[in-house]
Symmetry: C2
Subunit: 108 residues, 2 copies
């Protein structure tokens, strides 16, 4: 998309991208640990298929969440804060109104 | 399906079902061990998604393979022997012509 919300400076976009990258690393490292733990506890086929269902759901969630679009970083950032993968102080550098919007959405 | 190949006696059907059950137990126990090993070796997200792909493929394969139909036990039994989950001597009790057909298909 050529059209972008004009109020995001290049610096702010970079901050958003880095925040997403940080959150992605945290979430995926936690997922790797979780999958290893779940797998080590498998004793029957139901556990295997449950793990498979869980991985499919996680893939859908993560692929969608980190599919960064310049037009909607506010929502992505708010979701990541709400889920605990990002801290609001990692958005330092964004304008106060953007941080306020993110914080408000993260509380919903 | 009400129609069944008439040449399978009840005893033979029972032998086929038990052979399938034996193979299912072997294959799924091996899969559980394999998944635990694969998961313990996960270090990055590519490994996670590879595991997910593998589980989806295995589910498709196993769900289809053990979906027993009276009409086609010859093919299922041959496939299981070919894959190593069943031994031909576990089909003792089937008529010689059926065992010969299974053995011929398993070599294909």
């Amino acid at each position: 998309m050529q059209e972008q919300a004009p109020e995001w400076s290049e610096t702010e976009k970079q901050i958003a991208r880095e925040a997403l990258s940080t959150a992605y690393t945290r979430e995926t490292e936690a997922l790797i640990t979780e999958i290893r733990q779940k797998a080590s506890a498998i004793t029957q086929m139901n556990d295997v298929w449950s793990l498979s269902d869980y991985l499919n759901a996680k893939r859908y969630d993560i692929d969608g969440k980190y599919d960064y679009r310049d037009s909607t970083p506010i929502f992505v950032l708010a979701k990541l804060i709400k889920e605990g993968w990002l801290h609001s102080d990692e958005l330092a550098g964004l304008t106060p109104d953007k941080r306020a919007k993110v914080a408000a959405l993260a509380r919903m």
